[in-house]
Amino acid sequence: MDEIARETIIQAASGDADAFEQIYRATADFVYTIAWRMTHNHQEAQEITQEVFIKAYRKLGRFGFRSSFKTWLYRIAVNTAINASRKRAIERQSVPYDDSVAAVHVADTRDPLTQKEDREQSEALVQSLLSLLSPEQRACIVLRNIEGLSYQDIARTLGININTVRTRLKRARQKLYDSMKKGVIHHEV
């Protein structure tokens, strides 16, 4: 994770809107991707992203440079997204994820004429796979498989032990594998 300059953070903490915008520009896509992958809902992802940066702005003065700034911000983002995801699951009563399309049939055709269709199907498969997981497991998979964070960075971002990261990833992937074996997810090659 590329770090944000200390000076920029200090300026933003003292109320410099331009400095805060620099921070936003450097991190917004990551935060939005997490929010979108956690909720599968663009409106909600926008609200979460907005909430994350408002929280960050308010807490910026208390950031003590003891950890990486991005880790600090991403932790706010993941926690906010997990909470939103949990709340959504409660509201929807046992439907943990938007669309709840767990059973998706994906034909892995490589015909260039159907590339767009392929991408859409690929996206649908990703979302349906994520829908099978708990918010905590989903966060780990998104951070690792989509954002490409190392185990160490995931541990720092989530504020958990690196072995807990391993356990969560293993359980999440085992669940995906079992679902495929049971035929919940169909993936033809």
Partner: protein
């Protein structure tokens, strides 16, 4: 290593390339020699890694920054930042701050302990009963039929009871 351990590593460190080269070679050698683990790895790739390799990273819509900026400006001006989330506003209203919550918990605990302490217990009833019996007995002794004799340090004091009359 056993196949179960190898398959766990396929789902984690080996699959994610988070292990050192030497360990990786050991796992790869096992997979190459073991049809079961090779089959597992190939099947697992299709659901554990391949779908996510194509997953796109999203671009945050510009409208978000416009809202955040407006919120910050409003906050700097002394007001509350604008929020998209209606439920969030309600949550803010009913949310307790951590120190206030801790203080309330301590106060409630002290109150509960105090109330429990004030409740009479079985042992207390027994003690009270015993004291009442004793008081009643003393009243009886000091009341009608006669008095008792007691040694007060200087000699016996006559309380005029039947017993005293019988013995002395």
């Amino acid at each position: 290593m056993k196949c179960k351990e190898i398959q766990d590593l396929i789902m984690t460190d080996y699959g994610d390339r988070q292990m050192d080269e030497e360990s990786r070679k050991t796992v790869a050698a096992h997979i190459a020699a073991c049809p079961e683990c090779r089959g597992f790895e190939q099947a697992f790739q299709k659901v554990g890694f391949e779908p996510f390799a194509q997953a796109r990273k999203e671009k945050a819509p510009e409208a978000i920054w416009t809202h955040i900026k407006a919120g910050i400006e409003q906050e700097q001006a002394g007001g509350q930042p604008a929020r998209l989330r209606r439920t969030g506003t309600m949550r803010e209203l009913i949310r307790f701050r951590r120190p206030a919550f801790a203080l309330a918990t301590v106060a409630a605990t002290i109150l509960v302990v105090f109330l429990i302490a004030r409740q009479p217990h079985d042992t207390q009833y027994a003690v009270n009963g015993y004291l009442e019996d004793q008081a009643e007995f003393l009243t009886y002794l000091g009341g009608g039929e006669g008095d008792v004799t007691a040694y007060n340090g200087n000699g016996y004091v006559d309380f005029g009871t039947d017993i005293e009359r019988y013995f002395f």
